[in-house]
Structure formats: structure tokens, C-alpha cells
């Protein structure tokens, strides 16, 4: 349904000025507001909020999962500063998050634009194909790509040999210089589909008359993209950026399945490190749930930054 501006103005002119009806409307709005959010908030408090509070509490303790947690104040946090693994994990986490955010925002955007400008049939087929990796969980992707990256038997090295680029062969997952980029490729492979879809929907929603108007004004294709498409996509882009950032900071399954943070912590990120500390089969005999929780608090703070980023970018967009 649609409304014309004249109807709207007419409607607003009829708005009650008298106190009683206005107050009643506001009260019903307020009640509805609270009513609508009751289910999600109740569930949140019970099954998200409280566990988060408990995890934060654990970060100030030493606990192995049995007996009572032993409160040790800020010791876990100060330990981070002298822990070389934590320092490596910090660097890798930032690097991973930022690089994947850039790649997983720009590339899907470009592909979405390209897809908007080809024959419809091809567009549907390619869109579906690109989406399929996103359907598979990261655990499965990790296992698949680990086989592809195998230095001796894997398809990638064999392919390079076959087309004469044998010199480019690498120990994709065991060479510390190459391991993070190799994993980033896999993350990109899985993330393009969903992000591209979001951008594609956004582009489809842009009113074609805008493009006509721009063309009439003499803009070429690139200028049309920059001055018509991009501004309409600002809010979407802000969302995609912040989601990618958060997922980058929290990353765990993908890296753990492929390298478990190795070799020798070259691909260790906060997500894998805190898992190893709490549950890892390779982290030794005593679970360190307290120290691990301290890392999850750090990740939470980083994600808070990502949310701020999104709010700032969105606010700029709607101006």
C-alpha cells in the first residue's frame, strides 16, 4: 500500500491537540513497546545476560571446572601482558578481523554490482552457487580446505604444478608466513554469499528512476555507481562492516579445525586460545576457565568497538 504526501499531511493535521487522547496514545504505545520486547528480553536475561555476567565473574577467578572458583582479582588480566601467546593472538586477531572485514565487504559489493548488470538467468545461477559455501558450517569448510591445502597430496599444489606454476607451491598451513592468508581465503569463500546477497538486495531496491535521472545529467556508469548506488547502500554497508568485524574478532571454528592455532601459534587468535585454555586437548591437563574467560571479555570489548563503528557509520549515512 502507498500513501501520498497529501494524505499524510491531512492525517497529521487531524492529530489530537487535547491532552487526554494524546496521553492515551502515548500510553498504549509505551505498553506495546514493553509488551513486544518482553519475550526476547526475558530470554536474554535468563540465558544470555546471566551467563555473560557469570563469564565476566569467572575472568576474575582461577577455576578448573570443579570445586569453587578461586577469586584472584585482576591476575588473569595482568598475566596476559606477560604471556607471549596472548600477544601473538592479539596481533593475529586484529589482523584477521580487519583483513576479512575489508575483503568481505568490498568483494561481495563488487560482485553484487556485477550481478545486477547481467542477464537475469546467469545472475540467479551465480547467486545460488556463491551462496552455497555459506550453507556449509565453517567446521566442514575447514575440513575440506585442509585437504585442498595439503602440501603433498592437496589439490592446490597439484594444480599449480600441473599448470606450470610449481614454483608458487607453498606449505599453505604450516608456513607461518602463509597460514593466516590461507585461512582468510577460506573465510572469504564462505562469507561472500551472504554478504553479496545483502548488497544485492540493497541494489535491487534502488529506484531505477534515480539512474535515469543521473544518466540524463550525463553521468557515466562509474559515476552512477558512486553517486546513486553507494549512498543508498550506506546503512547496509555499515551493518555488513560491523558484522564482519565482530565475526572476525570472535572467529574460532574455522581456524581451530584447520590448524588448531598452529603451527606454534602462528594462527592463534583469541577465539582458539580461549578454547584451548578451557577445553583443549592440547593445552594440558588442567582446564583454565578463569584465564580463558578473561580473553572472552577482551573479545567482548573489541566487539563493542565494532558496534560503535556501526552506529557512527549509520549516523553519518542518515544525515
Amino acid at each position: 500500500m502507498s500513501t501520498s504526501s497529501s494524505t499524510l499531511r491531512a492525517g497529521i493535521r487531524q492529530a489530537p491537540r487535547s491532552g487526554a487522547r494524546l496521553w492515551k496514545l502515548q500510553r498504549s504505545e509505551r505498553l506495546a513497546g514493553y509488551g513486544f520486547i518482553v519475550p526476547i528480553t526475558v530470554l536474554f536475561v535468563l540465558f544470555v545476560g546471566w551467563p555473560i555476567v557469570f563469564a565476566i565473574y569467572l575472568s576474575f577467578t582461577r577455576w578448573s571446572g570443579f570445586g569453587a572458583p578461586n577469586v584472584i582479582g585482576l591476575d588473569n588480566y595482568t598475566r596476559m601482558f606477560s604471556d607471549p601467546v596472548a600477544a601473538t593472538a592479539f596481533g593475529n586477531t586484529l589482523l584477521f578481523a580487519i583483513v576479512t572485514t575489508v575483503l568481505q565487504t568490498v568483494i561481495p559489493l563488487i560482485i553484487a554490482v556485477l550481478l545486477s548488470n547481467v542477464w537475469r538467468g546467469l545472475s540467479v545461477v551465480v547467486r545460488t552457487i556463491l551462496f552455497i559455501p555459506g550453507i556449509i558450517s565453517f567446521v566442514v569448510s575447514g575440513v575440506l580446505w585442509k585437504l585442498i591445502y595439503d602440501p603433498n597430496l592437496g589439490t592446490l599444489n597439484n594444480l599449480l604444478k600441473a599448470i606450470g606454476l610449481g614454483a608458487l607451491q607453498q606449505h599453505w598451513l604450516s608456513d607461518p608466513a602463509v597460514v593466516l592468508p590461507s585461512i582468510i581465503v577460506v573465510s572469504l569463500w564462505g562469507a561472500v554469499g551472504m554478504n553479496m546477497l545483502i548488497f544485492f538486495a540493497g541494489i535491487q531496491g534502488v529506484d531505477p528512476t534515480y539512474y535515469e535521472a543521473a544518466q540524463v545529467d550525463g553521468a557515466n556508469r562509474l559515476q552512477q555507481f558512486w553517486y546513486v548506488t553507494m549512498p543508498s547502500l550506506r546503512v547496509v554497508t555499515a551493518i555488513v562492516i560491523s558484522l564482519n568485524l565482530m565475526n572476525g574478532f570472535k572467529v574460532f571454528d574455522l581456524i581451530y579445525v584447520m590448524t588448531a592455532g598452529g603451527p606454534n601459534h602462528a594462527s592463534e587468535v583469541f577465539g582458539t586460545y580461549l578454547y584451548s585454555l578451557a577445553f583443549g586437548s592440547t593445552a594440558g591437563s588442567i582446564p583454565q576457565l578463569g584465564y580463558g574467560s578473561a580473553f572472552s571479555v577482551i573479545v567482548m570489548l573489541l566487539c563493542g568497538v565494532a558496534v560503535l563503528v556501526q552506529i557512527v557509520l549509520s549516523r553519518r549515512a542518515s544525515r
Binding site: 513486544f36 603433498n152 590448524t259 603451527p263 594440558g284 591437563s285 588442567i286 583454565q288
Partner: protein, 441 residues
């Protein structure tokens, strides 16, 4: 746009019975529904409790070898003991299993029988796993190989029993060795390095090994410490970081130098630190490597994955010794053990099942059917699979390779640098010490 369209639409909408009050009721009902479902769920929860006079014994492991063979043992047991029900759960890998175990322990509801992994002694000291010396008796434990008992013992108490033992050796393809001109089985590490040169000359890797994760690298390295000291208890003390034992001690550095020499001799395939267990096995049976360093779980894996020709022709040799005539110390602890929950109310039922599981005939049949290496002398004598039988014969030269101590497994990470050739033995020794101390917290 016609302006009366809006009003007629709202007129119809206003006719519906949904009101503001109804909405509030709805969200209240929603929250109530959740509460109700919790109540219903609470009535139906009952893991590990008795129901109708039956005691339920949960058994949690990741021992996929017995996935197809254990159910028969369970049903036989249940027909003899109708008041005990066994709930068997086999996870895929330790990483899938450990969160569930940790959570169960934190919730105070430990499964009756569980795979303790490297936490056997820690859980034992905390009163989570039972002292089996007391509960099963020394007569029962006598039948197990000494190393499998020792690894789970501290302070005179034993907190788990070995289920599947692992003996390590070098699997090899005789055809490839012959092709390379290697005569017989290399006896010492020097012989192996010589052989590697010949094998590399025909374009193959000599020994396929997995160094990912770091603990797999420890499987190779830790026995070298025993070879250097000729004392299988030396590492047990280092593992617990007892006084006077450190990773910078002379035996460790010597072992690292030996390991370094072997790597420099181009014995292993490229990229060991990025190769996982199953990948290293693949390299072997696809003919990329002439030999393969792995444990006694391998024969059953090869039967599944390799071509029938390959399965017929491969052989196994002892891990090389440090010099001619020395003992071929080889890793052989039982990585797969079983612990019993101390606090469960069905502990006795669990012990009953355990005794049945290890009873004569039952245990050896199970191990044979699963192509697994048993931990008791009696069952070893009954092994039918020839390769497993051969490896069982080396158990007397067994030595430790599993880091049970707090933080010990962190030593595997700096060790990878020897395999990568990115650090010297002296440096790695220091890094091992600090990594272990760091992990202890």
C-alpha cells in the same frame, strides 16, 4: 493516489478482535509458555539416574575404533545384568568430547565411565575419578602392562585403567624401499638417515609424520629422551616438573640435538607441521612416502582407507635405536583409558560393567574385532591381526610419550621449530621450559 483508500483499510482492521489488552496477554502467555516448557522438561530430565529400579551407566569416550564392536558387548552384558542399563556415547574426536566432559564435571554430574584423556591424574586428585586400586583391587590391575598402570598413578593411587594401548613403530612399503636400494630395515637413526638419502633420490619422502598438533610431534620426540637416558621413568619426572628436572636439562637438549640431526637428514616429508594425523597416513598409502611413523591404531585405518594390495604388502619395523645394539625404546602408553566417576550413585554398577568388559574372552574379542591394541597381557596373547600382534611384542621396550603433567603439552609448540628448522636445539629447550611454565599459569 486515492485518499480514501487508507480509511477503508483501517476500518476493516479495527474490526478484528485483537486489542491492546490482547497483546499484553499474548506476551505474558509467551513468557508463561516458556516457563511451562521448562517445567515439563524438568519432569522428563533424568540423565544417569535410576528409572524403575534400573541403574544407568553412561560411558563416554571418543574411541571410534569400538563404535561398531562395543554394542554387542553391551547387549551381552545387559542380558546377564537386567538391572543395569549402559548408555554408550562415542564422540568423534577429543575436541568434540572435552567440552561435554568439562561441562558435565562443572555441573557435578560426571558420567559413570569416561575417557579421562590427559586429565586422569588431575581429576583423580580432585576426587572426580575413583581410585581403581581400591575399587578394582591389585589382582585386577596386575594383568595390565606396567606402563599403562604407571601413567595413571600418583601418590599410590591409580585413577584410570588403560583400554587401548598405542605402540609406535615405522610402517613401510617394502617395494618402495627395494626400489630405492635400501637393504633391510634400518636399525639405528644413522641407518635411517642413510636410507632417507636413497629414498629422496627416487623422488619420494622417506618418513611421513604428523606434527600437527604439537602433541603429535611429542609422540616422536619424547621417546628420544628415553633413548638418550636409557631410563623410561626420566620423562615421568620431567612431566611433573619435579625438582631437578627441567627442559633445559642435558638429556632433553641431547634428545633435541638428535631430533635436529634426523630432520636435517631430510628424513621427513616437507611441511610436517602442517600435516595432520590422517594426512600423514594418506601420504603413506598413496605412495608419496616410503615409510610412516605412527601408532598401532594404523592397521585398522589402512584396512579402511588403503587399496587391498597395499594392505597386503606393507610391513612394520621397530623405531630405530640410538646406536647399534641399544634398546629400541618406543612409545607405548595407553592414550585411551577408562576412568570411573567417584561421585556418581551408580558407581558400583559402573565397576560391575568394567569388570565384565575386561573379563577373559570379552576384552580380547573386543580388541581383536576392533583391530585395537589391548592393555592386558592376557589379551595381547590373543591378538589375531598380525600387524597389531607384531607391535604388541614391543611393549617391553615401551616408554612414555604422553604429557599428563600440568602444562606439559605446551612443550610441543616450540618443538615444531625443530621440524621447521627455525630454531636451534638449545633455543628450543629454553622455549619449551618457558612455554610449559606459561601454560601452568
Amino acid at each position: 493516489m486515492p485518499s480514501n483508500r487508507g480509511s477503508s483499510f483501517f476500518a476493516s482492521a479495527a474490526g478484528t478482535p485483537i486489542t491492546r489488552r490482547g497483546l499484553l496477554k499474548a506476551s505474558g502467555a509467551g513468557a508463561a509458555a516458556i516457563g511451562l516448557s521448562s517445567l515439563l522438561a524438568a519432569c522428563s530430565t533424568g540423565g544417569g539416574s535410576s528409572s524403575g529400579g534400573k541403574a544407568t551407566v553412561r560411558m563416554w569416550t571418543w574411541y571410534t575404533e569400538i563404535k561398531d564392536t562395543l554394542p554387542k558387548v553391551i547387549s551381552d552384558f545387559e542380558s546377564k545384568h537386567p538391572n543395569i542399563k549402559i548408555e554408550n556415547r562415542i564422540f568423534g574426536t577429543p575436541d568434540q568430547y572435552l567440552p561435554a566432559l568439562t561441562a558435565a564435571v562443572s555441573g557435578g554430574d560426571v558420567p559413570e565411565i569416561f575417557a579421562p584423556h590427559v586429565r586422569a591424574i588431575t581429576y583423580g586428585e580432585q576426587g572426580i575419578s575413583a581410585d581403581l586400586k581400591k575399587d578394582l583391587g591389585s589382582d585386577f590391575l596386575k594383568g595390565f602392562f606396567k606402563s599403562t598402570n604407571d601413567e595413571y598413578t600418583k601418590g599410590g593411587k591409580q585413577y584410570a585403567v588403560g583400554f587401548e594401548a598405542q605402540t609406535f613403530g615405522i610402517f613401510y612399503d617394502p617395494d618402495l624401499l627395494a626400489k630405492a636400494g635400501v637393504d633391510g630395515e634400518p636399525e639405528t637413526w644413522d641407518d635411517l638417515i642413510e636410507a632417507a638419502a636413497k629414498i629422496n633420490a627416487i623422488g619420494k619422502s622417506a618418513v611421513s609424520i604428523s606434527c600437527n598438533p604439537g602433541t603429535s610431534a611429542l609422540d616422536f620426540f619424547l621417546p628420544l629422551i628415553t633413548q638418550v637416558t636409557d631410563d623410561p621413568t626420566w620423562y615421568l619426572k620431567l612431566d611433573q616438573l619435579e625438582k631437578g628436572y627441567s627442559y633445559t636439562s642435558k638429556p632433553v637438549v641431547q634428545a633435541l640435538e638428535l631430533n635436529d640431526k634426523i630432520v636435517k637428514g631430510k628424513v621427513f616429508q616437507p611441511g610436517t607441521t602442517g600435516t595432520s594425523g590422517d594426512q600423514s597416513q594418506q601420504l603413506f598409502y598413496t605412495g608419496g612416502a616410503a615409510m610412516f611413523f605412527a601408532g598401532s591404531w594404523t592397521p585398522s585405518g589402512l584396512i579402511t582407507n588403503a587399496s587391498p594390495d597395499f594392505v597386503k604388502r606393507y610391513k612394520i619395523m621397530k623405531t630405530p635405536a640410538i646406536k647399534s645394539g641399544a634398546r629400541h625404546w618406543t612409545a607405548d602408553q595407553a592414550g585411551a583409558g577408562l576412568a570411573v566417576s567417584e561421585t556418581s550413585k551408580n558407581k558400583d554398577a559402573a565397576l560391575t560393567f568394567l569388570k565384565y568388559l575386561y573379563s577373559e574372552g570379552v576384552y580380547s574379542n573386543l580388541m581383536n574385532a576392533s583391530n585395537a591394541m589391548p592393555s592386558t597381557q592376557a589379551a595381547v596373547e590373543q591378538i589375531t591381526e598380525p600387524h597389531v600382534k607384531q607391535m604388541a611384542g614391543w611393549l617391553t621396550d615401551g616408554c612414555p610419550h604422553i604429557p599428563f603433567g600440568s602444562g606439559s603439552s605446551a612443550a610441543g609448540d616450540p618443538l615444531q621449530k625443530i621440524f621447521d628448522q627455525t630454531a636451534t636445539p638449545a633455543e628450543v629447550a629454553k622455549q619449551m621450559q618457558s612455554a610449559v611454565e606459561n601454560a601452568r599459569g
